[in-house]
């Protein structure tokens, strides 16, 4: 079997869904295609295919370490999507379903891309495919968010294209392997790459893919987009789309490190990661909107991923672990927040309180998810962030780790403030009236519950095969000298 199936199956599903005539049955494409994708991904996960260095698209160790969680998150979001789109049956869902499936296929392409140009094309295509999802609600605010996303995201992608060209240009002066833009080929050139161009490329690519990932100060699209998009879209974007930008940065990082600039790379990553956490913590202390709060929390976790990647092999291992725990936990939070938002009719703590009385199950899930995402044991994020801290102390970055922990504490204060403000208290009469239209069915409560369960399982009983997959990815990116 060829791992290109992982790309073709969802894209074919997207085309079929776009052609499907019935608005009521079309959402079933989501779980069916998502299930097929997950089955395929796990087949490749257990039987990893042999990837030769020159392959442009391949299920290599890095793809193997990250893609399964994207697929798993997508399937659970798809099941949630069935109930969500039934509630929103007044909106045509043709473009929505087709775009979601297209994103799954393009994400699989982006995670498997082993060539500079191909990587850019697939990540840019993901950015564009996400646009119709953001304005699904069809409100002026949603269009405003989409416009900002397009402008900031488009500029970011332009920068990463320029960076990719600079990296390609660096390889021209090396002689030898000219014209080979696969990551393996570029790394093989190593110190032969022209130093000024490699550094220019690194800055541009970090800014470009960092925009897509939502690192501060390029995160400005995130609160608007996550705040206005449906919860399921936030879950797919925060847990899936951002990871493709992260693996892109990791792949470029290994090329730049191979050229002998590893120290500079690690320092820039550490600084931008800490800055992201700091900005996220400060905004978390100020925001009054619980969906925007999740966006800032996502900025914080992207910062954690980047800090881990700056701390060498052990740190990267912790980062890959955190990709999994963040995706599962954040997915759950976006879904329960979506339920509360739908029942309450507003995302602001100025209007919403006492949701524990109105939507008890979603409120319980939201509170539990909040503790999970702020790294309370026994959930996954606690263990992965602990490993980041250990890697940081082992690498003698004690000041950075002190800042890191302080920011996590502030983020915890900020999030508890918003979450308990919404859950506690007595609901206002307008909220009560509004919430009569929303029923907490099994379909909207079970998916976030399953994700939280997976998060606990991942933290307590990380399977050996998964640990091996992460170690293999670390070996791919940090080849033994």
């Amino acid at each position: 079997m060829n791992s290109i199936l992982l790309i073709i199956v969802p894209l074919a599903g997207a085309v079929l869904a776009a052609a499907w005539p019935d608005n009521r049955t079309r959402p079933w494409f989501l779980p069916v295609v998502g299930g097929a994708h997950l089955a395929l991904t796990f087949w490749f996960f257990i039987h990893p295919p042999l990837v030769t260095p020159e392959t442009w698209l391949g299920f290599d160790p890095l793809a193997r370490a990250v893609l399964p969680v994207v697929s798993l998150l997508f399937l659970i979001c798809a099941i949630y999507g069935l109930s969500y789109l039934r509630i929103r049956s007044e909106r045509p869902n043709r473009v929505f379903v087709a775009s979601l499936l297209a994103i799954l296929g393009l994400l699989s392409a982006g995670h498997q891309a082993r060539q500079l140009g191909l990587l850019w094309i697939s990540t840019e295509a993901v950015t564009l495919a996400a646009v119709p999802l953001l304005h699904f609600n069809n409100t002026p605010r949603a269009y405003e968010a989409t416009w900002k996303y397009l402008l900031v995201g488009g500029t970011g992608m332009a920068l990463s294209l320029l960076g990719s060209f600079c990296l390609g240009y660096a390889s021209l002066s090396g002689g030898g392997n000219v014209g080979n833009l696969t990551f393996a080929g570029l790394s093989a050139q190593g110190p032969e790459l022209s130093r000024p161009w490699v550094l220019t490329a690194w800055v541009l690519i970090l800014a470009g893919y960092g925009t897509k990932m939502g690192l501060a100060p390029m995160h400005t699209w995130k609160p608007d987009a996550y705040g206005e998009a449906p919860g399921i879209v936030g879950a797919v974007m925060a847990g899936g789309v951002t990871t493709v930008a992260f693996t892109a940065i990791l792949r470029v990082r290994s090329v730049v490190a191979a050229s002998g600039e590893g120290a500079i790379v690690n320092r820039t990553l550490l600084v931008i990661g800490l800055f992201s956490i700091l900005v996220a913590a400060l905004f978390l202390l100020g925001t009054r909107d619980f969906k925007r709060m999740l966006a800032y929390s996502s900025v914080e976790h992207m910062g954690i991923l980047i800090i881990g990647a700056a701390l060498g092999g052990a740190g990267l291992w912790a980062s890959l672990f955190h990709v999994w725990s963040n995706a599962l936990t954040k997915g759950s939070l976006f879904m329960s927040a979506g339920n509360i938002r739908r029942a309450a009719g507003s995302p602001s703590m100025n209007d919403v309180r006492g949701m524990a009385a109105i939507t008890p199950r979603s409120a319980a899930l939201f509170v539990t998810g909040m503790f999970a995402v702020t790294a309370c044991p026994p959930f996954g994020p606690f263990f992965s962030e602990l490993l980041v801290v250990r890697a940081g102390l082992a690498a003698k970055h004690s000041v950075a780790i002190a800042i890191f922990l302080t920011c996590l504490l502030f983020a915890f204060f900020g999030m508890t403030r918003v979450v308990f403000g919404i859950v506690d208290g007595r609901p206002s009469p307008t909220t009560k009236e509004q919430s009569k239209k929303f029923v907490e069915t099994l379909g909207v409560v079970a998916p976030p519950l399953i994700l939280l369960g997976l998060s606990v399982w991942l933290g307590l009983f990380t399977p050996a095969i998964l640990r091996d997959a992460w170690s293999a990815a670390v070996n791919q990116l940090f080849p033994a000298p």
Binding site: I121, A158, L162, S173
Partner: protein, 214 residues
């Protein structure tokens, strides 16, 4: 060949100044699309590019997309929106022109100091690319109408395309066409959003997009 190449790039640098100096949208769109067509010729002019049908194909596709498809999408959006065709700048026309001209000179000076390969040092490829990127940023930041910002984005993209010409031997055509496809789809998507913004806000003035903030 270098003289023709430099002439063409010089023309595109002139079009940058037309773009920042134009006070009406149709003129801005025309400058942007003409620049796209002019840049589409470049792959055919590059000395050591092998002259085969695929290079010609990509060059033709670039010219058609940037010279016909994208501008007609934008004109359609402009007509559908029935907007006032005056461009309302944040940064006035004279300051933008001065910035653009100064930026062009700085781009030439900067390119002299970049570690370029000898075969690229004599051409205007890198200065032309930097000047277009700068122009794109001036338009993105300095204009308030959504369509002018899109034009700025496309001129920025033209600059990056020009930079990509340095790599024409090593970038496979598949990648080039993929990039072109992404840009086209991008403009198509932007066109749709511009239309929806017009309907939702009754205006294309991005200064009105201020509901979302902390």
């Amino acid at each position: 060949m270098n003289e023709t190449l430099n002439l063409v790039i010089g023309l595109s640098m002139g079009l940058n100044l037309v773009a920042v100096g134009s006070s009406r949208l149709p003129m801005l769109i025309r400058a942007m699309s003409l620049q796209g067509v002019v840049l589409g010729v470049i792959p055919l002019l590059l000395e050591n590019a092998q002259f085969d049908w695929r290079v010609v194909g990509v060059a033709l596709a670039t010219m058609v997309v940037k010279g016909v498809v994208i501008p007609s999408l934008l004109r359609r959006a402009m007509r559908a929106a029935n907007i006032d065709r005056e461009i309302e700048p944040f940064i006035g026309f004279v300051p933008s022109l001065l910035l653009g001209a100064g930026g062009t000179i700085a781009a030439v000076a900067l390119a002299l100091n970049l570690p370029l390969l000898p075969e690229h040092a004599k051409t205007l490829l890198v200065p032309g690319s930097l000047a277009s990127m700068l122009t794109g940023f001036i338009l993105l930041i300095g204009r308030s109408k959504a369509i002018s910002q899109v034009c700025g984005y496309l001129i920025l993209e033209n600059g990056i395309y020009l930079f990509g010409m340095l790599l024409i031997q090593s970038t496979p055509l598949l990648v080039e066409s993929g990039i072109l496809l992404d840009v086209t789809v991008g403009v198509f998507v932007i066109g749709i959003i511009v239309d929806r913004i017009q309907r939702a806000f009754d205006s294309l003035d991005t200064r009105k997009l201020t509901a979302l903030r902390e």
